[in-house]
């Protein structure tokens, strides 16, 4: 069975504003910590995917652990405008480490 769901983007206004005309539900924050207050709404089931910018992720990482075991929403980290990057990759590495006990083999494979 399939059902249509919305997709949310959470981050600073500069990074996420461009998603609004494409039909994404945009949550532009003036302070990254505001995301904590929105988290219930974001993971309540209305959204299938929640994109979170790297600046916001550290503020909601502990809350996101609850949603991690459910099929939806999928919480994905995306780089924000002007962020260094790498946090999404780190999150992926943590999952790999959890399953395999190490990320060494997969890194070699990539290189």
């Amino acid at each position: 069975m399939t059902e249509g769901r919305r997709v949310a983007v959470v981050g600073d206004g500069t990074s996420v504003a461009g998603f609004r005309p494409l039909g994404f539900a945009v949550f532009a924050l003036s302070e990254p910590s505001e995301a904590r207050g929105l988290w219930q709404e974001l993971t309540g089931g209305e959204f299938a995917v929640v994109f979170v910018t790297e600046q916001v992720w550290p503020h909601v990482a502990d809350l996101a652990a609850d949603a991690a075991d459910r099929a939806v929403p999928a919480v994905t980290v995306i780089p924000g405008a002007g962020s260094v990057g790498g946090i999404g990759q780190e999150k992926l590495d943590r999952a790999i480490e959890r399953a395999l006990g190490t990320t060494a083999f997969t890194r070699e494979e990539d290189g």
Binding site: R5, A17, L22, A25, A48, V49, A74, I78, P79, A99
Partner: protein, 218 residues
């Protein structure tokens, strides 16, 4: 591995043997499940890593274009141009069952065409920037689906591995040790019985011999 504290009798021995058999069957099943989960997991990693790197680059390029537009139109001008548009359903969600892990699948639905801003007052680059973002958006959704699958599989692999290890290194050795010790105790009791019987037989034989000698003597 210390043995379980149970009464050393045949009934317990039978029960424990049955438990060990069930544990061994469960261990084999879980190990097969773990192998299959690992196969699914490893097949996804390399592709997802590559995809994340690509998507991050494309997103950074799109942000760059928006920065140029912001420079031309001003922060307020860009915010005004992007204020139009309301959230719509962008994905169809279905679930797939991989070794009892429910993995979501997102099928992209058509995105609304950006518009609603004045072409006269906004830079032409805005169209290019929105096109770039629209091009990366389906790949972002694909990446979200893949990363979610990896996270869910990783959690299941961790749980299954713990179960396999607990059965392999704790429960099955413990049951085997208990079965061995009960077997030894039962053997010991059997030997004790046998010795007692032999001793009794010897005593009876000696008594009979004495009685025969007494009857011969009288």
């Amino acid at each position: 591995m210390p043995a379980l504290r149970v009464n050393p009798n045949r009934m317990e021995l039978m029960k424990l043997r049955r438990r060990r058999q069930v544990a061994q069957r469960g261990h084999k099943l879980l190990k097969d499940k773990l192998d299959e989960l690992m196969k699914e997991f490893l097949a996804r990693i390399a592709e997802t890593r590559r995809m994340r790197i690509d998507v991050e680059h494309e997103l950074a390029a799109a942000y760059g274009l928006f920065a140029v537009v912001r420079g031309e139109a001003g922060k307020a001008g860009l915010a005004l141009a992007l204020a139009s548009g309301s959230p719509v359903d962008l994905v169809d969600v279905s679930e797939r069952n991989v070794m009892s892990v429910r993995i979501p699948e997102f099928a992209s639905l058509p995105m609304p065409t950006p518009g609603g801003y004045s072409l006269a007052t906004t830079p032409a680059m805005l169209d290019t920037a929105l096109d770039a973002l629209a091009a990366v958006a389906p790949r972002l959704l694909d990446l979200a689906e893949r990363e979610k699958a990896i996270e869910l599989l990783a959690a299941e692999i961790e749980t299954t591995r713990r179960r396999v290890n607990a059965l392999e290194h704790v429960l099955i050795p413990q049951l085997s040790e208990t079965i061995r010790s009960i077997g030894m105790k039962l053997d010991e009791a059997e030997r004790g019985n046998l010795t007692r019987l032999m001793k009794v037989k010897e005593m009876i034989a000696a008594q009979e011999e004495r009685e025969v000698q007494r009857s011969v003597g009288s």
